[in-house]
Symmetry: C2
Subunit: 214 residues, 2 copies
Amino acid sequence: MSLKTPRTTIRRLPKRGHYDRETLHAVLDAGFLCHLGIVVDGQPYVIPTAFGRDGDVLYLHGSAVSRTLKHAAQGVPVCLTVTHLDGLVLARSGFHSSMNYRSAVVLGTAAPVAGEEKVHALAVISDHILRGRWAEIRGPSRKELNATAVLRLPIEEASVKIRTGPPADDEEDYALPVWAGVLPLTLTPGKPVPDDRLPADTPVPVYMKRKRSR
Amino acid sequence: MSLKTPRTTIRRLPKRGHYDRETLHAVLDAGFLCHLGIVVDGQPYVIPTAFGRDGDVLYLHGSAVSRTLKHAAQGVPVCLTVTHLDGLVLARSGFHSSMNYRSAVVLGTAAPVAGEEKVHALAVISDHILRGRWAEIRGPSRKELNATAVLRLPIEEASVKIRTGPPADDEEDYALPVWAGVLPLTLTPGKPVPDDRLPADTPVPVYMKRKRSR
């Protein structure tokens, strides 16, 4: 089933649009931070938050007292957007300057998750961020589960937009004496900073050394 | 004037909230990609796009045929969010695991920009991304200006949320034999990739070598 609907069809530069699940999953899985859009009294709110993916379901979590999550849990329309900024595209004119990026936009309706699926969802989100860590850390207590809200958002309507490659300048602009090309950008992990109370001989887990695009 | 209103007051972990223009400007200026939220027929849409700041005004631009921009230009409520992901906060439990980040949320109403201010806005956006480049590249033609939509969003209502530092674990969890601390993350520029038609002796401009957090 295609994820393309009139609402998710990319009309501007349609060649950049993708609607297949494989491409969508790849963009979603390359990140763990999304921007969640909700509407309250006609006002849109866009909130950064972590997410996880299990097949064709996205999970979100947050404090049970979070206004955003409480609102989103009421079965209202939401938009979940994931963006990877891959570089600045520096053309010889402002008009053709651009960015290289991969972005996924998922439209849908979220619903609260309870019971067994709630713990599963938290594991999915944790492993989406850092695969392998969930098995090592302390699992959630009943009190913590009660203080946490988890939402599920089925992937049914979505689009992906991708731009790659060099600038495309107007023919006469190639003669201009200005540098042009791409400045690549990558979200890069630094040296892990152990907390003050960590015993000095605690090894850094292998899952922290894995390369990931974001 | 404070940017704090009932709609922008951070209730969950209020110590992370900031409402002064100095802090807001610093978070906005550390990035050039925002997520713009608009509402169409009750459905929120969250779209990544470039922005620039000139004092207490934010500028956005895009194709004149962009649905998002055309809609936002109608004087409807929008939300502009800028997020910097600074690190993973790896606690000894899932519950206390978190992220270090700086995020700015601006609520307001955008209006289309024309004439002189339009060119000024494009310069502001360009220099917000890469200060110094606008002066070097070809300026916009009349045709290009007509094909470009520019919006202005005055900063009147906003909040900033910032988390820094190590995890804060439950006292009894410090005994667990698991690595804990922070994995810093930074958006890092790579080696500039000149386009195929650039003369080999074209120097890389100094403004591309400046350090920026994002």
